[in-house]
């Protein structure tokens, strides 16, 4: 049988119930990155706008605002969801992890440290403009927790719901595999297989430079 434990996760008294009239504000309290936060917001406030405008946590990016691009993905009780497709009032009493909180997920708990996923993005040059990156990192954080040893195909599937207009995705797929490696062994050396795309591009540039000189 199933193990549905949702109801037990809402044992706090802060779960919003009752009625909030149109245009009125109510206090919405959410645990964000381990810290208790609250703000007075309208019920139509999406979780993404609540995080950015009301709490000032602009690490969550808002792209399409209708659930297509994945940039606003956050972890809600550890599970990736589109924060533009959840109302803040519905998330009241729950745990939210944003890009700002990922550094706390490693063993040291130091908020200034980088999580395995963040390190992997740096190692593999998995971002260019960075707009989509918070959504990718939250998605991959949950993805490698569920599947600690993804194949390349599984890595592609893991990020299929997130759009990136810069990278062509190959380096992001590399970063998924690298993050899985770092999650198991923080000291894992960076091997060629994670750098071959950028190396190939680099040597092509050098050739071009050489030809032009």
């Amino acid at each position: 049988m199933s193990e549905q434990v949702r109801s037990t996760s809402r044992n706090g008294a802060e779960v919003a119930t009752g009625t909030v009239p149109a245009g009125a504000r109510s206090t919405v309290a959410v645990t964000v990155n381990g810290t208790h936060r609250s703000a007075e917001v309208e019920s139509r406030r999406t979780l993404s706008d609540y995080l950015r405008h009301d709490l000032g946590l602009t690490g969550t990016h808002v792209g399409c605002e209708h659930g297509v691009c994945g940039a606003c993905t956050v972890l809600l009780d550890g599970t990736p969801v589109r924060s533009c497709l959840v109302f803040a009032v519905t998330a009241a009493g729950h745990q939210v992890t944003t890009a700002e909180g990922l550094g706390q997920l490693d063993e040291s708990g130091d908020p200034n440290s980088l999580s395995p996923v963040q390190r992997a993005f740096r190692d593999c040059h998995a971002l260019q403009c960075g707009f989509c990156t918070p959504g990718f990192m939250t998605t991959i954080t949950a993805g490698i927790a569920e599947n600690p040893d993804p194949t390349r195909d599984e890595a592609v599937e893991m990020i299929a719901g997130n759009l990136c207009r810069c990278t062509g995705y190959q380096n992001i797929v590399d970063a998924v595999l690298r993050a899985a490696e770092l999650a198991k062994d923080p000291a894992a050396p960076l091997t060629d297989r994670f750098t071959e795309h950028s190396d190939a591009a680099h040597s092509a540039d050098q050739d071009a430079d050489g030809a032009g000189a």
Partner: protein, 305 residues
């Protein structure tokens, strides 16, 4: 891209939820996972005056698997049902179709019953419920009723739910002995709305002969379409072509910017054969596992070649 103001209701029980619905009537919409509703609100395609948020309602998040099948509450997320091994064992078509519902992140939040209530003819689970002959149970202040899938889907995005009714659960009948199933679709991009999708349920006798083949379609009709293709499948030498032709004749697709009607019709034929082959192969395998016989004469690999 911001929803219009609405009065938010956060009931704790089903009774409270249906009391609100009875009060607000057509002015109200139920919010469960919100993965279809919130985009509609954000684009202001709908501006309901009242939103009844059932996410804090107790007792709606259960998956019950018994001999009759799988019954899911209104707050069961697609991802929970997809991961439920008991549900997948009782009715394999559930997991086969759920893995094609949008992207995993959407499945984490979206609810299966919510998808059904949304009654989108391009939704996988509307097609599955109809193909399996499942039911929806609706509650209102007036009482409770169970609606067969064939009567539930009235038109595109239109269900038989009354304004004061809350869909509290859906029931998918269990796969019976000697049946196999499959679900295939083609979308422009992975996770997008399918241009055409086909679910198939095949029944074979202990000798391996196909005694039943039913297919359910999405994106090629106004309401979920189910077609019995048993005769076409058993029609002789070129049964695959006959089955594809029967499927093409049964569907009624509309053209849009993504595909012409002719292309969708062609897809319906091709995907029907593909789904049927997989479903028959699974049925034969299941019969074989039970009886360990009669696998000769059914060369599924040859047929697809």
């Amino acid at each position: 891209m911001k929803p219009a103001p609405f009065t938010w209701h956060g009931p704790r029980t089903v009774d409270e939820a249906v009391a609100v619905l009875a009060e607000v009537g057509h002015e109200g919409k139920v919010l469960a996972g919100g993965q279809s509703l919130i985009p509609v609100l954000a684009m202001r395609l709908a501006e309901p005056a009242h939103l009844v948020d059932i996410n804090a309602v107790a007792g709606l998040d259960r998956i019950v698997v018994d001999a009759t099948g799988v019954t899911i509450g209104a707050l069961v997320r697609h991802a929970s049902l997809e991961r439920d091994d008991a549900a997948a064992a009782a009715q394999p078509l559930l997991r086969q179709a759920l893995r094609l519902v949008a992207h995993p992140t959407i499945r984490n939040r979206g609810t299966t019953v919510g998808s059904l209530a949304h009654a989108d003819p391009s939704g996988e689970m509307t097609s599955v419920l109809t193909l399996l002959g499942g039911t929806i149970t609706a509650r209102s202040a007036r009482g409770e009723r169970t609606i067969p899938a064939t009567e539930f889907f009235v038109g595109p995005l239109e269900s038989a739910l009354a304004a004061d009714e809350l869909a509290v659960s859906a029931h998918f009948p269990a796969a019976s002995a000697g049946t196999g199933s499959a679900f295939v679709e083609v979308a422009r991009r992975h996770g997008d709305y399918a241009l055409c999708g086909v679910g198939a349920v095949a029944t074979v006798d202990p000798a391996g002969a196909v005694t039943g083949l039913r297919c359910g379609y999405l994106s090629v009709s106004e309401t979920p379409l189910t077609v019995d293709l048993t005769d076409a499948w058993n029609s002789g030498d070129d049964a695959a072509a006959a089955t594809a032709a029967a499927a093409r004749a049964a569907v009624d697709p509309l053209p849009d910017i993504h595909a012409t009607a002719e292309y969708r019709r062609q897809l319906a034929g091709v995907l029907t054969v593909r789904a049927a082959e997989q479903a028959v192969a699974q049925a034969v395998q299941r019969v074989g596992t039970m009886g360990r016989d009669n696998e000769s004469g059914h060369n599924e690999e040859d047929r697809s070649a």
